[in-house]
């Protein structure tokens, strides 16, 4: 018998697994509940096992993902679906949204994939280290033209964006700070900058395919003069600029608001942040304190966030619209493992793009704003069609598990149409839905009447009914939120 307490635990656990991961299959939910909230959070933040993704298989069987000229999104999709370290992947999606870097300009996918790998390694560490790695990242250097940032002639692009978009936000620095920060990053470039730039500009893989880029520091091209960055004077290099930036209260607030926006509740679009208070100022204060008390450690901030009342309270549940990647990946994980090679990964990557989030191809350096940006008529239809298509086969391992669990929950060999709906919502979350939604689902399911699975024919009939209800549930507005 389900107690009120265990019901609340299940709802909270489902909330955590949706936000810190991509939802849970029935078996993952069982395992999580047996571990308890704190142990699950520990595992998410510090997985004690290596990532099991078989890169060799991806490279062999998805040949065009091996050189990663294209197919970077599909390559990532496979990892997102198959990973057993979901928060690590989620934080990659988070930083990809903040530090949006696109193959649209860079032409090749490999360097962006390498950037995502860097997020995987540093994304839950110290923000200072992450910003230094970002500044050294070849994809970022080429994306924001830092290969053209010379000691004798600065290019302000990276200096501006590291302050505006990556750390502090508009209104917290001056135009002089931009110039001085740019000077600090002079000489930070890639190997063979001239040839690599021209190949990128000409969009050419010729003669022998794309070449991945490597960071290079050219001391001769670095402006070693004195600089004043955010009030601090010295012969600063890039690492010094990052240190100074990360000491700022504005940086703590900016990072905190981004984390809240991604993991707790939809905020206003980032360009409005300088003019509008956060949705929950106290939550931002809590996260800021965590930033400074934990030496700017992002993992520690995430722990603070997931242990906070503002996260655990019912008010934050379903307070975000699922991003296309969250919707697509979560649904695919429900359907079960994908084989290699598979066209499903390409299809899923394309679906994300059609819903408005082309992985590795953000619309601009400002990334995706999220929230209501994700939903319009076309995108919603795409979401519903995709989820229905992925979960339409009772022979898929994940769908089979869901159906079997729906049966098991009934506790007998027969089920009413109302029970079918209730059990389905339970297994697919538990998913909390409005009464009107539940009523609509039950109204539709009533045409199936009472069902049994005592022989092959009845069992097939039940499978079809269950799949129909599963498809309706994933079409609901509640499933489109997180």
């Amino acid at each position: 018998m389900t107690t009120i307490r265990s019901r609340q635990e299940a709802l909270l656990m489902a909330h955590l697994l949706r936000r810190a991961g991509f939802g849970a299959t029935p078996y993952e939910m069982d395992r999580a509940l047996s571990m308890g909230y704190q142990a699950v959070l520990d595992d998410l933040l510090n997985p004690d096992h290596p990532d099991v993704i078989p890169d060799d298989l991806i490279r062999r069987y998805h040949v065009d993902q091996s050189d990663l000229r294209s197919g970077g999104g599909a390559h990532w999709v496979y990892r997102l679906v198959m990973t057993d370290t979901p928060l690590r992947e989620k934080i990659c999606l988070f930083w990809h949204r903040v530090f949006a870097t696109g193959t649209t300009k860079l032409i090749q996918n490999r360097v962006v994939t390498n950037q995502i790998d860097m997020f995987r390694e540093h994304g839950m560490g110290r923000f200072d280290d992450l910003l230094v790695e970002l500044s050294r990242d070849p994809a970022m250097i080429m994306w924001l033209d830092n290969q053209d940032n010379h000691g004798s002639n600065i290019n302000e692009n990276y200096g501006r964006e590291i302050l505006e978009l990556f750390s502090m936000g508009v209104g917290n620095y001056s135009e002089d700070d931009i110039k001085e920060t740019a000077r600090a990053f002079t000489g930070w470039r890639v190997v063979n900058p001239d040839y690599m730039s021209i190949r990128m500009r000409n969009n050419t893989a010729r003669p022998y395919g794309y070449m991945s880029w490597q960071f290079e520091y050219d001391d001769d091209d670095h402006d070693d003069g004195e600089k004043i960055i955010l009030g601090q004077k010295g012969k600063w290099n890039g690492e010094d600029a990052v240190r100074i930036i990360c000491e700022q209260d504005a940086t703590a607030r900016f990072v905190s608001r981004h984390l809240y926006h991604f993991f707790v509740a939809d905020e206003l679009p980032v360009p409005q942040w300088p003019h509008e208070d956060p949705k929950d100022p106290e939550a931002i204060d809590v996260l800021c304190r965590s930033y400074f008390e934990n030496d700017h450690d992002i993992g520690a901030m995430l722990r603070t966030l997931f242990e906070s009342d503002f996260f655990k309270d019912g008010g934050s549940r379903y307070a975000r619209i699922k991003s296309p990647s969250e919707m697509v990946i979560g649904t695919m994980r429900l359907a079960g493992p994908i084989d290699l090679p598979s066209e499903e990964t390409y299809m899923a990557d394309a679906a994300c793009a059609n819903m408005g989030q082309a992985l590795m191809r953000p619309p601009s350096v400002e990334g995706w704003q999220g929230g209501t940006e994700w939903i319009n008529t076309g995108a919603y239809v795409e979401r519903v069609n995709f989820a229905g298509r992925i979960l339409n086969d009772p022979d898929k391992q994940g769908v089979r598990d869901i159906i079997d669990r729906i049966k098991a929950l009934s506790g007998q060999s027969t089920i009413t149409s109302d029970e079918l709906v209730d059990n389905c919502l339970e297994v697919l979350g538990p998913l909390e839905v409005l009464d009107t939604t539940r009523h609509g689902l039950k109204n539709y399911a009533s045409k199936f009447g009472d069902m049994k699975w005592s022989d092959e024919s009845l069992s097939s009939e039940f499978d079809r009914a269950a799949v129909a209800i599963i498809q309706l549930v994933v079409s609901s507005q509640e499933y489109q939120t997180i």
């Binding site: 069987y61 294209s70 197919g71 040839y195 021209i198 010729r206």
Partner: protein, 332 residues
Amino acid sequence: MTTTTFGLKYVTNVGFAADFGGRGFSLPSSMAIRADGVIFVVSRGKSSTKNSNGIQMVTKDHDFLGQIGTYGAGLGGMMWPTSVVLDSDENLYLADEYFNKVTKYDREGNPITEWGTKGSGDGQFNQPSGLLIQDRLMYVVDSRNNRIQMYSLDGNFVGQWGSGGDGEGEFNLPWGISDDSEGNIYVADWRNDRIQKFDSNGNYISAIGGGKTSVLDRPSDVAVDPDGNIYVTDWGSQCLLVLDQPGNILETKRGEADLSPWSVEYLSSQDDERKARESFVPVYKADTEDPSEVSARMEPYFWDPVAVELDQDGTVYVLETGRHRFQIFERI
């Protein structure tokens, strides 16, 4: 006592990234060399660019002779081609791991027949990855079924051996296949990091590599010269290895391609790229030890070497998927 020294020297390379068809290759996966010197290279192509699928015909002297086959599901079509081989009548055979079939083309490149469906039964495939013809018998590496199947050249099932595992005669996603002058068969047992040697009936003889300290790292293909030297495209380390029969390494090549005539011709029409290349440093100290990433940065290096072939003169050809070319080496 006499000792034989073994060495290879780089000669040239043939290739060019041809994403949209035309002269060059696109993610080539296999090659075969005809007695008259025509070299057949099959391009798998990008998933987004279908017209680069096909079997390109070239010579080692940089002649481009055209293409056989194209993307598609019909007879003669291909999607994820993995292996190409010639019989003694110079018919051509192509394995495709998407359609799970083998297609036979005549000497003129006309498709004649095809066989295979997805499955694990006799005459079925689950991602065929390597072909070998010996004495009118075709050996097919049935990769995901972890077995070798034998067929007549008309596609009639003859027999099979192998199963999943890491014991003698077992496989873990095998890839390429070849034979030696005595008719023994060598299989690149890819995920077991070894080359297994069998007689022509599939009886296990020996193995090189395997285990945690294997000398090999995900070998993709193998060839054997008349002296019994074994050439391995060691896909994991991104090298060509040459080993003797006991498994001692005689030679290691990382790749050293320069600009081929096709590439020089291309650059002659691209003023800005040619000028920028004047300061280009093709090989430098990498800040990573990942062989694949190093290959992705260093243009002369092998990048995903997937096939090694020997011609009748003993010239060595190493095909690289990532760089759309093959590098040619000769014995010294």
